[in-house]
Amino acid sequence: MQALICGVENLEFAISLQLVHKVIPPVKLKPILNAPISVAGSFLYQGKSIPVIDLSGLLYNKATKIKLSSRILLYKYDLEGNLVGVLSQSVVETLSFEQHELKAEGYYDAANRYLGKILIRGNRTIGYIELKEILTPELKSSLFTVTE
């Protein structure tokens, strides 16, 4: 399996390619007022407004610094093909891994189930983000109240 390597601050996170619909450059986002810091804003894509999650905001409570290597990952979160964007600070490489290589990190947060697993490559420790869990129930409700 292939995974994208997302650099956030000094850490690396892997996101499986299987659920990523597309990777697009960091387009200019329309800020959503009163939204939490984990929501970067929204943009129009193929005639639809797509909400974007800020990975740095989600993980560090700190807005992402947009760089040339920053990307927005598009993720189909439901069967109807509705998309949600994930803004990551730096996405430039991929990584091959097998499911059994995923190890438990040692701490599991039931409220944030997208975290908790790691991949080890030499002396690199890469956090594994479960994309399908990234929409926590409260985030989901707030995002879709916004989009609809």
């Binding site: 399996m1 292939q2 994208l4 299987q18 619909h21 450059p25 290597s69 990307r71 430039v92 991929t94």
Partner: protein
């Protein structure tokens, strides 16, 4: 009734054929046994019948002396009238009568039930006088009678004689003697019960007459008596007795061959008796025809006495012979009965033995076949075959294979056995083959089905992915071309920068050489440096473009990787290509970053240089060291710029390779797309066929699974 029938049917179901056949044989034996019983009881009746005759003869044998001695008693009493010396013999005769009566009562008591001689039976039949006590009483009365005259004496004896005559007739009736079924014994009986007692009576009367004649003279009345006596003797004695006796002899000889000893004795006694009768009759004839008044009765009396002696002996011999023949007959009947019983029982036993062996012959093969059929019905064909191989029944298993013996068999159960055995073997063989084939086909179809499914999914995904990949590749191709162009421009610019640096260096050398002469030239230098600064600024702009392009390429390669991931294992090659592109893009970005760093350093150096030049311009005199250091700086610039060119050339080459690769990918993807569509169609058809095949094999295996074991 219905319930009884049902339970009977259930009972039929619960018993084996062998048992049924044996029960059937037993049922068949019941009427035979009943028939045998009646035959035997019929024979018993016959034996009893004849036995009664023997009893009768024995009783008559004992009754006869009483009768005879009574007559002798009469004769003695009559004689004692003429000759008193004779009267001394009377007590002897009385003793004989007592003894005879005693013997008679013994024997009559012995057979009183068989011959109805019990007092009750006699009373109810109206023959109370034949009771032993009554006879004895009659005799006591006779003994005590005080008869004086000739007539009184005859009268006193008459009662007992009548009783004894009746007694003999009664016993004859009761003992079935007169119903005797065979001629010789019938006539012997007739003689002993009817003719001989009568003759004895007549002869005694004749003796009485003869005795009378010796005392009285003959008259007309006596003559009439003689005529009657003569005719009786002639009819009853000579004619009838002789005729009957000849029949007895003929019958006996025809039945037993040569006559028995008893018969020979009897014949002799008969002839003697008949001779005496004839003599007596001729004497009687003379007496009736004589005209003399005074006749001698002694001759008649003597003849009568002789005849009486002979008749007694004859009578006893007749009874003896009768006893002998009846006993013989009873023995014959008993022998017949024993023979019939033995033969019948042996026949029944033989029939049983035959029936049981037949039942065994029928049921044994049937039982074997039933076991086989049960095994087959349960689906254990291999068990049935094992039974055939291990157990040997009426026919050995190996003989089934040999057609020489089987076609001669007529027994249906053995034929069935043979057929089922052959069928089992064939069935087992066929099942084995089908099962093997079924297992092979099933595994094949399963493999095919799973392959098709995975192939189908892959092809479907491939088809959708390849089109996107194709589009992506085209984009990459375009982008790469743009990048190549840009890189070309960069190369030119870098070369230009290098040339300018060289020029600058030459100028510095001029400056160095002609320090003083170039105070004005420093202004021009400043201008040149400014141009250089601007050019480097341009390079920075180009580098930023390169960085952006590299970032975009990286992005495209990431998306390509996503599509490749969706396409699955078949696009592994493409993943590698995308990865390679990404690496190139990353290298480009890194190179751009390096160039950026270098350019920054160049800019700093130029700024430094410019400040130096300004200082130089401002200062009247610049130190040579400063210029030298500047020249060194400039050398560095040249080095850096020269180092930049190969990097840019590498980028250029990479870009060209990218363009080429992307074009190839695009073409390959189009071909792949077409091929995938074709494959998809054929896979669909193939899957339909495989599903049908699988369904057929599944049903076949279900059928086969009924026959377990394999």
């Amino acid at each position: 009734m219905e319930k009884l029938l049902k339970s009977l049917v259930v009972l039929f179901h619960l018993t084996t054929i062998r048992l049924k056949l044996i029960v059937g044989a037993s049922v068949f034996a019941i009427p035979t046994a009943i028939l045998l019983y009646y035959v035997v009881s019929g024979q018993n009746t016959t034996i009893e019948f004849s036995q009664k005759e023997i009893y009768g003869v024995e009783v008559i044998e004992k009754a006869l002396p009483v009768y005879e001695f009574t007559y002798q008693h009469l004769h003695l009493q009559l004689e004692s009238k003429r000759n008193p010396a004779v009267s001394s013999e009377i007590p002897n005769i009385q003793k004989l009568i007592d003894r005879s009566l005693h013997q008679l009562s013994m024997v009559s008591e012995k057979y009183e039930n068989e011959l109805s001689l019990t007092p009750d039976a006699l009373k109810s039949l109206g023959f109370a006088e034949f009771e032993a006590g009554a006879i004895k009483a009659a005799w006591e009365k006779l003994r005590l009678s005080n008869a004086k005259t000739h007539e009184e004496i005859i009268e006193s004896h008459q009662h007992l004689l009548t009783i004894m005559q009746g007694y003999i007739a009664y016993v004859g009736d009761r003992s079935n003697l007169i119903l005797d079924p065979e001629l010789h014994t019938f006539y012997l009986m007739d003689a002993s019960v009817v003719t001989l007692p009568k003759l004895v009576q007549v002869l005694h009367q004749g003796k009485v007459m003869g005795d009378t004649l010796s005392n009285f003279r003959i008259n007309e009345q006596s003559k009439i008596q003689f005529v009657g006596l003569r005719s009786t003797l002639a009819n009853e004695g000579i004619e009838k007795l002789d005729r009957n006796f000849s029949i007895v002899v003929k019958e006996s000889i025809s039945m037993f061959g040569t006559g028995s000893r008893e018969l020979v004795d009897l014949q002799m006694k008969h002839n003697n008796f008949i001779e005496s009768l004839r003599e007596m009759n001729s004497e009687l004839g003379k007496l009736t025809e004589t005209t003399e008044k005074d006749i001698d009765g002694d001759k008649l009396s003597g003849l009568t006495l002789t005849t009486l002696q002979r008749i007694n002996s004859y009578y006893l011999q007749t009874l003896k012979t009768l006893h002998y023949y009846v006993t013989e007959r009873v023995d014959g009947y008993k022998y017949d009965r024993l023979f019939a019983l033995t033969v019948s029982i042996l026949a029944i036993l033989l029939a049983y033995a035959v029936m049981i062996s037949l039942a065994t012959f029928i049921s044994k093969p049937l039982a074997k076949v039933t076991l086989l059929a049960q095994e087959i019905a349960q689906g254990r064909v291999d068990m049935a075959k094992e039974m055939l191989e291990t157990k040997t029944g009426v026919f050995d298993y190996l003989q089934i294979v040999n057609p020489e013996t089987t076609h001669r068999v007529k027994d249906e159960s053995i034929k069935l056995n043979l057929a089922i055995s052959a069928m089992t073997l064939k069935l087992e063989d066929v099942l084995n083959r089908i099962q093997q084939a079924g297992v092979e086909v099933t595994s094949s179809t399963n493999q095919i089905t799973s392959s098709i499914r995975s192939l189908e999914i892959t092809v479907t995904e491939q088809a959708s992915s390849t089109s996107e990949v194709s589009a992506t590749s085209l984009e990459i191709s375009k982008t790469s071309e743009q990048l190549a162009e840009t890189v070309g421009a960069v190369t030119i610019m870098a070369e230009e920068a290098s040339g300018l640096a060289q020029e600058g260096l030459t100028n510095f050398e001029h400056v160095n050489a002609m320090m003083f002469m170039m105070s004005e030239a420093s202004i021009a230098l400043t201008d040149k440096l400014e141009i250089l600064y601007q050019k480097t600024a341009n390079i920075t702009g180009v580098l930023s473009t390169i960085s952006k392009l590299a970032a975009q390429t990286n992005l495209l390669s990431l998306n390509a990787a996503i599509e490749a991931e969706k396409a699955g294992a078949h696009s592994a090659g493409f993943t590698v290509v995308a990865s390679e592109i990404r690496k190139l893009a990353n290298q480009t970005a890194v190179s751009a970053l390096e160039i950026q760093t270098m350019i920054s350093e160049i800019e700093e150096t130029i700024n430094d240089g410019m400040s130096y030049v300004r200082n130089y311009s401002e200062s009247a005199k610049d130190s040579t060291n400063t210029i030298q250091s500047f020249a060194r700086d400039l050398n560095k610039i040249i080095e850096y710029t020269n180092g930049l060119v190969p990097g840019i050339q590498t980028v250029d080459q990479s870009m060209n390779a990218q363009v080429l690769g992307a074009g190839q990918i695009s073409t390959a993807m189009q071909q792949l797309n077409e091929a995938a569509r074709g494959t998809q169609d054929s896979i669909f058809d193939f899957r339909t066929v495989t599903q049908k095949l699988n369904a057929a094999v599944t049903s076949l295996r279900e059928v086969l699974s009924i026959f377990s074991g394999k």
